[in-house]
Symmetry: C2
Subunit: 214 residues, 2 copies
């Protein structure tokens, strides 16, 4: 059975985006602190950075990082996460992930101004669709061919799926930092926990991995 | 050395107060869900409820509950936590905790309309003071006689001490629920974590115990 999954890195005060980008540091210091435990893992280093040396942390954080990629048959993401907002004037923008993105499956980018699909190396194809959460999910489930569907982010997109009750598993890696500004994951989700089982695991990095699943 | 400590129960979305009180249920369902893991502990049952049967949970949640009362020589709380706001027209209000409150030390209630001190059974005396965070703390440290000072709550009061850099140890028990409304603990605390060590422990109840200490 296809499960709909979300994995996000958030701060203790619930922010899933950062705000300290500059032209010199396009991701900002905060992004580094928010995702530090994740990008330090062996899984991230090999799967996303292509580092085959075996470097990187193992243990709790790496276990979750590795689950992140398991069994995913299709991904849905928002236009901002793909980079359409930051690169609006570049008609040839192909995402942040280089020629061979780590997804290796169809990726559906939600956008009010869809473009032609972009096939990439390694199994990823970016499709652009203008659809509500349920319709987008139907499309992704069909494309996933029995695999799971991940709602990749950002928070604006993820919240639509959470609010519509479409998510089977929500994993957040909570960094012990207070960002104080950005887009909150948790807004308008009062009572979300009903019908889910919550489990929580702490990693030596200080990260708390909280999972709601049903 | 006196340490200044905070222990609060908060929801995953950062709320430290509840909003569903009714005349029939003066604490509301949300308060029960927010504090469930804490009030179920053996320590809470014996120390706060006076239940000498030995009932209650043991383990991670109880370890933190028991630390809550250790070594505290004085407490500071806000007028709302003491109940002055909800009982503004009762000049004889003596707090929510019965004749023998669990504090067993001097308690300084911050208020813009101070009253006469109220000595209670078991070592607790409620003093009412109109002071900023630093002055209130100086008063409490002197009264604590070498013991620690706890800033008991609510969030409006606690945030003043956090923002002023006066807190040595902040422990939050994070319940895996989303309240969606109330007073947030974390507002305006960007960068609070600097200078603190963060540790996180998960309890089987689903509660995450996060501690910042310096
Ligand atoms: N913390 C994490 O783990 C994590 C993970 C992923 C991303 N991020 C961060 O999240 C940020 C982006 O998040 P975000 O919340 O600002 O935006 P987002 O969710 O990535 O994208 C939102 C945009 O997608 C389009 N869209 C969303 N739903 C749609 C629908 N149903 N139909 C049509 N179009 C739709 C709209 O763009 P248009 O109207 O322009 O078409 C909307 O403005 C990035 O900074 C990224 O770094 C964080
Ligand atoms: N989650 C938890 O673990 C926890 C723990 C404790 C309490 N609580 C909850 O917190 C709620 C109350 O919190 P709250 O944030 O609304 O209020 P609070 O912090 O308890 O009280 C705030 C009030 O205290 C007085 N005050 C605060 N600082 C002062 C200062 N420097 N000088 C003079 N007066 C000062 C002011 O009252 P006046 O202007 O009226 O004098 C102010 O409105 C309650 O519902 C309680 O259940 C939760």
């Amino acid at each position: 059975m296809t499960r709909v999954r979300v994995d996000l890195n958030i701060s203790l005060d619930g922010f899933a985006t950062t705000t300290d980008q500059t032209p010199e540091k396009p991701f900002g210091e905060d992004w580094g602190r928010l995702t530090d435990a994740y990008v330090s893992t062996r899984t991230f280093r090999s799967r996303v950075l292509g580092d085959t040396s075996g470097a990187g942390t193992t243990g709790v954080d790496d276990d979750f990082a590795s689950r992140y990629f398991d069994e995913i048959g299709a991904e849905i993401m928002g236009a901002a996460m793909f980079g359409l907002h930051a690169n609006a004037d570049d008609p040839d923008w192909r995402g942040w992930w280089g020629d061979e993105p780590p997804f290796r499956c169809p990726v559906f980018v939600l956008s009010h101004t869809p473009r032609e699909p972009i096939p990439m190396k390694g199994g990823t194809t970016f499709h652009f669709i203008d659809a509500d959460a349920q319709d987008a999910l139907n499309t992704a489930v069909a494309a996933a061919d029995g695999g799971d569907v991940r709602i990749g982010g950002g928070p604006t997109t993820v919240r639509q799926f959470l609010r519509a009750g479409l998510v089977d598993e929500l994993h957040v890696a909570i960094a012990p930092i207070l960002l104080g500004r950005g887009i909150r994951l948790w807004d308008d989700l009062r009572g979300f926990e009903e019908g889910y089982r919550a489990t929580s695991v702490s990693a030596p990095s200080g990260t708390t991995h909280l999972t709601f699943s049903r």
